[in-house]
């Protein structure tokens, strides 16, 4: 037993095992989130949602996954096969990779990089590549439009997303996510979402845009371009795209919690659970994801030009102004900085 625990201390083995655990979590997360999505939508729609498969319908995602496993995998006759089949993988890998730097608890992080925020920014922006590959590979007017929309949207919203991170980086003075969480302290009013409120809102909105959910789901646009870039995918490739979407949604929630809502820190000092502080992280992430779903079922979709207006004319100026305000305040009161 002791040897096994010692083995965990050895760096490459620890990394591999913890990465395996994270991958397992991510893959299951997609299933759990589809179920949550259907249940939440059910309650918003005044209906039950799945309740026949297993207790209270909890085995529904299992049925969906096994069905998709055995579904025929169609690729259109004129598609660019390698690009077509590579796209879901190119979408899934970045979504899963970002989990490497998410700190679940003080010691529970796969890789505590000192450039974790840069890593997050770099990896998420690869996701747009997968969308473009899917749209191009499918050879369909609908998916091409979806891919163009997706690329434009994800690249545009990358800018406010990164700019809104900078306030936190300035306050912390570090690019490590563990440092960011530790700098926020264990009381709810010292978390960064209060001093950085405009940045928090910007990050939240551009986060929704980054993961392509309503009201920013233009690349999919079910009632316009019938699923957009994923219109031609079936079976497992489609499931992989869905898994990537849900994983990236979860990762954006997790990063929001880490940067602005104090990560694993309890809201008040006496609620400190010690080694079980990851429960706080889980609760906060779930809450953010619930708000994503709440928005999903409540508002209509924007149009492309309005989306660009919002991104470039509202969010970017707002973050830039607040960046200068933060910098000025830090110059005036040096105690603010870490």
């Amino acid at each position: 037993m002791q040897t096994v625990l010692n083995l965990l201390e050895v760096e490459p083995i620890r990394l591999l095992i913890s990465f395996g655990a994270v991958l397992f979590l991510v893959l299951n997360l997609a299933a759990i989130l589809t179920m949550a999505e259907r249940k939440v939508s059910g309650y918003i729609h005044l209906r039950y949602g799945p309740n026949r498969v297993g207790p209270r319908g909890l085995l529904q995602p299992a049925a969906d996954v096994f069905k998709l496993f055995t579904k025929e995998n169609v690729s259109p006759g004129r598609s660019d096969l390698w690009v077509f089949l590579g796209a879901p993988i190119a979408m899934f890998i970045p979504a899963a990779l970002v989990w490497l730097v998410v700190p679940f608890a003080p010691d529970a992080v796969v890789a505590d990089l000192n450039v974790a925020i840069l890593f997050f920014v770099a990896i998420t922006s690869i996701g747009a590549l997968g969308v473009v590959m899917a749209g191009y590979g499918s050879r369909s007017a609908f998916s091409l439009l979806g891919a163009l929309r997706g690329a434009a949207q994800m690249i545009s919203y990358e800018v406010p997303l990164i700019l809104s991170l900078l306030g936190v980086v300035m306050l912390t003075g570090s690019l490590s996510l563990v440092d960011v969480v530790q700098a926020q302290g264990d009381t709810i009013w010292t978390w960064y979402f209060l001093p950085q409120l405009p940045m928090f809102i910007t990050f939240y909105i551009s986060g929704i845009a980054e993961v392509k959910r309503v009201p920013f789901d233009l690349p999919e646009g079910e009632s316009e371009i019938v699923g957009g870039f994923m219109i031609e995918y079936s079976g497992m490739t489609w499931a992989l795209i869905q898994a990537a979407e849900f994983a990236s949604m979860a990762v954006i929630s997790a990063i929001t919690v880490t940067l602005f809502l104090g990560g694993w820190q309890p809201p008040l000092p006496f609620l400190d659970l010690g080694p079980f502080n990851w429960v706080w992280f889980g609760i906060k992430t779930a809450l953010i994801m619930f708000t994503f779903q709440w928005i999903r079922w409540s508002v209509p979709r924007l149009r492309m030009d309005q989306l660009m207006d919002l991104g470039w004319k509202v969010l970017v100026p707002m973050t830039l102004i607040w960046l200068f305000v933060t910098a000025g305040l830090m110059l005036l009161f040096p105690s603010l900085g870490a």
Partner: protein
């Protein structure tokens, strides 16, 4: 499924995987979002809050045929639509099922006499479950979905003989197996023409400028000079044909001689 089909008869592996996959398939039947006519409204009602089809795991109406498992043919199928419907059916990945909802999709229903109405969806695609009614109540459609679930439960990968249509004697013995209906024809091109009706002469095809190719086969009114030219061309063609057939007859007689 290639691995499984190497077994000649059912064994432990095939039966247990059958159980798992049939359970998964029957509990996750995603219908294609394919509303044809009046029945589509009742199909929508079925998916809505009062009759919540999502309870059975069948509530995700897939807009793209690639992600759908079951096609609910909800309404009258016109001959113009039959080709599109067949194409949609072919675009769906295996395994796939079809529910014919309503009298029109079963037999043509009240529009049976119509000149552009297909007498039942099963003339072009194989149908698994028929739900009668005009339109069927949502409860009836839910019953149809549950019937389909029972059918899927019986499915086997190996050792399952599909029941063939047969002529059966009074005592129940099978007299003669009938050939299976082949579903070809419509998706390859043309819908079956109505027979026994004299084609009228007052239609002409012409190409319209500035229209995409898909719309160019439609008919338009033709100015008289073009009409004249078309008539002359047809006459010339007919004359050429007559000449050719005359030649053919001549050669034939020569051969006989």
């Amino acid at each position: 499924m290639g691995v499984m089909q190497q077994f000649n008869e059912p064994n432990l592996i095939t039966t247990s995987t059958d159980k798992l996959f049939n359970w998964a398939r029957k509990n996750s039947l995603w219908p294609l979002q394919f509303g044809l006519a009046c029945c589509a409204i009742e199909m929508m009602s079925t998916g809505m809050a009062h009759n919540d089809l999502d309870r059975f795991g069948a509530g995700f109406f897939a807009a793209s045929p690639r992600q759908a498992d079951v096609m609910i043919v909800s309404g009258t199928v016109s001959t113009k639509m039959a080709e599109r419907m067949t194409r949609l059916y072919e675009q769906m990945p295996e395994p796939k099922w079809v529910i014919a909802m309503g009298a029109c999709a079963i037999s043509g229903g009240p529009f049976l006499d119509g000149y552009s109405v297909l007498m039942g969806a099963d003339r072009v695609i194989p149908v698994d479950v028929y739900v009668p009614g005009c339109p069927p109540r949502p409860e009836a459609l839910i019953f149809g979905v549950m019937t389909l679930q029972k059918k899927i439960e019986r499915d086997q990968q190996v050792g399952y003989e599909r029941p063939l249509p047969a002529l059966v004697d009074e005592d129940g013995t099978i007299n003669e197996y009938l050939p299976e209906r082949e579903y070809t024809g419509i998706s390859e091109g043309k819908a079956p023409r109505l027979e026994g009706i004299r084609p009228l002469k007052r239609t002409y095809v012409f190409e319209r400028e500035g229209m995409p190719p898909a719309a160019q086969t439609d008919v338009g009114w033709v100015p008289p000079e073009v009409k004249k030219r078309l008539k002359e061309e047809a006459k010339a063609r007919k004359a050429a044909e007559a000449e050719a057939s005359g030649d053919g007859a001549a050669t034939k007689t020569e051969e006989n001689a």
